[in-house]
């Protein structure tokens, strides 16, 4: 039986939900608003919320001062590249761990996850030196590989949980029906795993897009993605909040739009397996 909720409580919950949502969204909203202000309005006290002279000059200024498109392209290449590379490694790995588990598979999975608990700053210097020695500093290839490695445990875990949800009886049925291993993977497993692979792909593109530690430390200009582009506006010669906001808005807009359109897959990805 559905639980009865009085109208007042329902209103209370609605307001609370909107309040929390607004609170979470507020920094993004404020950034977007600030990007349309003049520098003077941006630092005005008390802050101006909606009633200021709306202007798009920050965007024009940012466009002319730095090559937005190059950074955007780098972000796309790095995030999509690292995710695809990660999937290439993680799919067979998760596959074998889900369907041919060995005695230590669980331990292996836990160990993989534990690497995520190590502070990234701890390996910054060795990584930096390796990159320098191998000539990988400020290269798209180098940073793509690093981001792939950073997110690999998450990709593998996500895919593992998805694959685990596929009942082994269905695979056995395919075997009984005369399917070879190739056909079993092609006609039965992959179609059933596609939603899971799609969610993993989306989430990891977003994670890689937003990654700011390694991208800031290992790239400067040639391979620099949008995170470096934003950071270049918080320069020592004084903060320009409006321009910084315009840069930020331009950096997060693509991923925000992507996230908006793939909400359903993402929510499924994040809560998958919680309830059967």
């Amino acid at each position: 039986m559905a639980r009865k909720i009085s109208d007042t409580r329902r209103w209370g919950f609605t307001i609370l939900a909107w309040g929390v949502a607004l609170l979470i969204f507020f920094p993004i909203l404020w950034t977007i608003l600030t990007s349309f202000k003049s520098e003077a309005d941006a630092i005005a006290s008390p802050p101006k919320f909606l009633f200021f002279d709306w202007t798009t000059e920050n965007y024009a200024e940012v466009q002319s001062r730095s090559p937005y498109f190059r950074h955007f392209l780098n972000s796309v290449i790095i995030s999509v590249g690292s995710t695809l590379l990660g999937l290439l490694i993680a799919i067979p790995a998760a596959w074998s761990m889900a369907f041919q588990p060995a005695k230590r598979t669980k331990d292996l999975l836990m160990w993989m996850l534990s690497t995520k608990m190590m502070p990234a700053a701890g390996v910054l210097i060795p990584m930096y030196l390796l990159f320098r020695n191998w000539g990988l500093l400020d290269t798209r290839f180098g940073i793509t590989v690093v981001l792939m490695l950073i997110n690999l445990p998450i990709i593998t875990w996500m895919l593992y949980t998805y694959f685990r949800e596929i009942p082994s009886e269905i695979l056995e049925a395919a075997r009984m029906d005369g399917a070879s291993l190739k056909n079993e993977i092609l006609h039965v497993l992959t179609p059933m795993a596609v939603p899971g692979i799609a969610s993993t792909l989306l989430l990891n593109v977003i994670l890689a897009w937003n990654e700011a530690f390694w991208t800031l430390n290992l790239t400067t200009s040639q391979a620099a993605p949008l995170t470096t582009f934003i950071a270049s506006y918080s320069s020592p010669e004084g903060l320009f909040y409006a321009k910084l906001s315009a840069a930020s808005t331009m950096a997060i807009a693509p991923i925000l739009i992507l996230g908006w359109f793939s909400q359903k897959q993402l929510v499924r990805g994040l809560t998958f397996g919680a309830v059967k």
Partner: protein, 332 residues
């Protein structure tokens, strides 16, 4: 053709021996039921025949060919799983056609066979639906359809009815039996339900802890169980066992009498007792009786039998319907 022979088939998972060594002969066209309590190894035995598990030692011979090392796809067997195991992303048509597609059959022949199977199983109107849009009974029929289109040499059923409700189970039981009569193909059927075993089987294999306790036709097992376990497992309600003086008087450690083999009287007889619960079903009356020695007995009277809680009752086993067992539980 569909004969299956198991020769000293053993299966261990790590240190745990599940099947200690089974010899079994399944003839072409037979309906064989593996029955036993849960954990007795009946499903494992079926999976060994299917090739979904590897035997630890022994041989699996199908149609005279040693298939012990052959993968499932080469054994020409079809299996219906407890969970149906349909492909959720395919329509009913594609599900049924899948084994044909895997065999590389021409599309028009595939369609002809799918239509034929759908006709037999009343699925013609559902061919374009996905499994998720079907009821449990329909899903089960799709699973059977997927099995019959390939014309396998034998069907393997792994508790196919246990996910269905009681009424549907009875219907499907009859449908599967009719299918067997129609196709005359070997069927190996696993269940823990002795009623399914009794009603469907040509030959029942009773298993306990991976060992074959007895093999025989349903009535052979009912009439002459080899031991106390089979006697207690076959028949519903279960056979009553009486130990002590009454058994010793008949030269046995224990005697067994089925509930339907008591003559009941309210005036006198061999065993006296008191009625606990009386279940009046109209067609039958089941009486839960406590004998004067404290032994609980279930007895069945055909039709109506007017007694109630606390009434005195006397039971007399019918002639030739008393089973005697020794200390080890073997029939004497």
């Amino acid at each position: 053709m569909g004969s299956i022979t198991l020769q000293q088939v053993r299966k261990s998972f790590g240190d745990v021996e599940v099947i200690p060594g089974v010899d079994l002969e399944i003839n072409d066209g037979e309906f064989v039921v593996f029955v036993g309590p849960s954990g007795c190894g009946k499903s494992t035995l079926l999976r060994l025949i299917a090739g979904l598990e590897d035997v630890t030692s022994g041989r699996v011979v199908i149609d005279g060919q040693d298939m012990t090392q052959a993968p499932p796809s080469r054994r020409k067997l079809a299996m219906v799983f407890q969970s149906y195991a349909l492909y959720p992303h395919m329509s009913v048509r594609k599900n049924i056609a899948f084994p044909l597609k895997m065999a590389g059959m021409a599309a028009d022949e595939q369609e002809r066979r799918v239509q034929h199977a759908a006709g037999i199983l009343n699925l013609t109107d559902y061919l374009d639906r996905r499994p998720g849009q079907l009821s449990g009974g329909q899903r089960q029929r799709v699973a059977i359809g997927r099995a019959i289109v390939r014309e396998p040499s034998a069907f393997l059923f792994d508790e196919p009815l246990s996910n269905l409700d009681a009424a549907l189970r009875v219907n499907m039981r009859v449908e599967i039996s009719e299918l067997h009569k129609k196709l005359a193909t070997t069927m190996v059927y696993v269940t823990h339900d002795q009623v399914e075993a009794m009603t469907m089987a040509d030959k029942i294999v009773v298993l306990r802890a991976g060992r074959v306790e007895q093999v025989g036709s349903p009535l052979e097992l009912y009439r002459s169980p080899a031991n106390r376990f089979v006697a207690g497992f076959i028949g519903s309600p279960n056979m009553n066992f009486i130990e002590g003086e009454a058994a010793a008087a008949m030269g046995a450690h224990a005697i067994g009498v089925r509930p339907e083999h008591f003559a009941m009287s309210t005036t006198g007889g061999q065993f006296a007792g008191t009625v606990g619960v009386a279940e009046h079903l109209g067609s039958d009356t089941f009486l839960h009786i406590e004998l004067d020695g404290g032994i609980p007995i279930v007895a069945r009277a055909a039709g109506e039998f007017p007694v109630g809680h606390g009434d005195r009752i006397w039971l007399t086993p019918q002639d030739g319907r008393v089973y005697r067992f020794d200390q080890q539980g073997l029939a004497l």
